[in-house]
Amino acid sequence: MRPMRIMSKKEPFYISIQTKLLMVFLMTTMIIFGVNIYMYFNINKTIVNIDKVYESNALLNELQSNLTQVHRNMESFLDTKDTDAIEGYLRGGQEYQNKLEELNGDILGDESMIVEKNIRNMSKRYLEITDNAIEAKRGRNVVKYKEYYEDASELYGFINSYIYSLNKQKFEDNSNKYEILFSSLKYSEIVNMIILCMASVLSITLIILLTREIINPLKLLAEAADEVGKGTLEVELSEGGPHDEVGIVTNAFNQMVGSLKNHIEQLKESMELESAMKEKQLMMETHLKDAQLKYLQAQINPHFLFNTLNAGAQLAMMEDAEKTYQYVQSVADFFRYNVKKNNDVVTIREEIELVDNYIYIINVRFSGEIHFKKSIDKELINVQVPSMILQPLVENSINHGLRGIEWENIIELSVYRESGNICVSVRDNGVGISAEKIERIMHSKLSAADLKDATSGVGLDNVIGRLRLFYDREDVMEITSAGENMGTEIAIYIPLEA
């Protein structure tokens, strides 16, 4: 993941948002600028043309005023021989001559051109005549200059008329031209306005399009971030987005989401591992308990005892001591059971037989002072249970409940069905047990001193532990006592299905 990010930064197509925005605005500005320049030149050109339209009229007007100036000066000179007039005449004549050069002198196929040529030729003739008139005046040839003057005046009239007509015609032409140009200017204005509008629309569209191109990934990113914020990690933004900062952020976001997912995955895994380990630990504990049990069972060196007791029984048989044989045989059976059923599953019947043996032994030992009563549901006696669970209870009753009491010792064993469970109850009429002690027993918090009291080696807490492990439930035993000297009842609950 990491090298990819570096890659994207180094990509040849990488364009920053700033550059993009700059490009957008540059582009639109260029369009508008170009359109404006184009419009400016167009209109300018038209205006220049419009300016030129009446140029020819201006020239003709000047020509006419020059001609008038020449004629007036000539008249004035002929009248008064005024030197100012002759100067004015010469200057005006020269100017007029120069202006004439601008007129057409060739025979061209256009009425105006021919008129120009005529004006030019007539004017030349006119100037010749006026020159002659001036000359004649200077020479005081009255008849001649009068004649010249008349000719000149007539020609002056013709020329003026021609210039006037030409001017008028040109004015008409120019007006047409002007109209065309003006309408084209108007048209240009409209077209330019339209073009400008179009350019603006284009620019706006471009800006929207391009900024959207920039902003859309951001939007998507924001949406995705929102999704992630809400806890949805299954968000993936498409790779290869824009080649800009947003692209980098998008990639980073993808990586972030990815690593977030990875982290959670790892966390899950480690949690699973932990729970597995806990289980293992529990198992180990169980094994330990099991080992402990085995150890405790092993403490009662069964083989030795068994062999010894067997020998004793045979001896008693040989001596015809029936009761002794019976007793030793019971003890042997008792211990054989312990050896044989050491760690196996047995039926309730077998457990009850063991208790019978145990009671017999104890009654022999204590000269039959314990009254053992049984109330057993025969249907249940074949149910399988862990071995060595009943005897410890009875032993516990004898050791703790009945020891040292003055009244008759009674132990009641009941096996009955109670709401889906088989209840095996051992009840004595002994000293009873305090609630505090019950609590400690139930939670395996017996002190070492308490444990040492266990004569047969298998204590209550061991029974509880084994039952709990075997049935995988907590609620396996109940100890109840009505009060001091009111006896104790220990009940084991075995699930019926098991």
Partner: protein, 344 residues
């Protein structure tokens, strides 16, 4: 979704750009065209001609002269001759003399002139010739001037033609034939026409008892001719039986007067020149006959005469034109031709 919107926008964008480009192109073309058109007016390449002739007639409106001018101009175009109709396009109505002066002062290369017998014209013709400008008179001549050539109908022949027409239409009851003449122009051509008519009548119409009279109608002031012609019908005790008109204008004036005063059938008109009006009048028998001159040919000959003189230094003194008479029996042909020309 995003992609879709983008595509749509791209299409919109493309359309806008396309429209923009189209608009730009259209406006560019339009404006260029406008500018070019105006530029063309000023910078147009005009045809350059070798010679510049002036065409001078008394009237600018007369159809006859317009046709002569058109024929001459058309021919001149082929010969690289620019024929200017003097006085046209000017705001002042200059007289023939003034136009002649202008032509001389403008130093044209040749002048085609509706000649007359006045002294001023003769002097001006002489002045032009002295300035090296050849002059050709058309239709009517200026006698004794130094004009290079005359292109026209022989007036005597014309007179004889009129005479023949009078003989054709006159009866024993015909008492008077009136010739409308131009007083001012001391045109000897008119006299020749008169003589032609007179001689023809003497030779071929000696069975007739009609009297040949002339009436001067002035051409120098506007509308004076028309009034003079109307006066014939209003104030003369005895109406003439035949009116002989020597110009197009007079023909139409007389024709109109005959219609206005309800004298169709009582007064016969012998016209001059062919126009639609005159042809229609002939077909309706208001005008008995008219003299048709090939105007185009006349124009061509006048230009030719000038060209010939300028190129060779000499030209024949008199170029005669053919004369045709249009009567009710051949008027259809002329009307047909006129219609064809219109169609063309």
């Amino acid at each position: 979704m995003r992609q879709k919107i983008n595509n749509k926008q791209l299409i919109v964008l493309a359309v806008i750009v396309f429209l923009l480009v189209i608009m730009m192109i259209i406006s560019l073309i339009y404006i260029r065209k406008q500018v070019d058109r105006t530029n063309q007016i000023s910078d147009e390449e005009y045809k350059e001609y070798i010679r510049h002739y002036a065409f001078i007639t008394e009237s600018l409106e007369d159809n006859f002269w317009s046709e002569v001018y058109d024929g001459a101009e058309e021919f001149g175009e082929g010969e690289d001759v620019y024929l200017e109709r003097m006085g046209e396009g000017l705001d002042i109505n200059y007289s023939k003399e003034e136009l002649l002066k202008i032509a001389i002062a403008s130093r044209v290369d040749g002048i085609i002139l509706e000649g007359d017998a006045s002294k001023e014209i003769r002097l001006l013709i002489d002045e032009a010739v002295a300035d090296g400008i050849p002059v050709v008179t058309v239709l009517t001549d200026s006698y004794d001037s130094k004009r290079q050539s005359f292109v026209g109908i022989g007036s005597y022949n014309l007179g004889r033609e009129y005479g023949r027409q009078i003989v054709r239409i006159a009866t024993k009851e015909t008492k008077e034939a009136l010739i409308l003449m131009d007083t001012v122009s001391e045109d000897s051509g008119q006299n020749l026409i008169f003589n032609g008519i007179k001689e023809t009548l003497a030779n071929e119409g000696n069975h007739l008892t009609l009297q040949l009279n002339t009436l001067a109608v002035n051409e120098d002031t506007p509308y004076s001719e028309e009034e003079a012609i109307r006066n014939i019908f209003l104030y003369q005790d005895e109406l003439p039986d035949i009116i002989i008109c020597l110009s197009e204008k007079n023909t139409i004036s007389a024709y109109q007067a005959v219609i206005d005063y309800n004298l169709v059938g009582q007064v016969d008109i012998l016209g001059y020149y062919v126009t639609d009006t005159i042809l229609n009048a002939i077909s309706r028998n208001v005008i008995s006959a008219t003299i048709a001159v090939d105007t185009e040919q006349m124009g061509v000959h006048s230009v030719k005469a000038l060209d010939e003189y300028i190129e060779t230094g000499h030209v024949s003194d008199f170029v005669t034109m053919d004369v045709n008479t249009v009567m009710s029996n051949n008027v259809e042909e002329y009307l047909h031709n006129a219609a064809n020309e219109d169609n063309e």
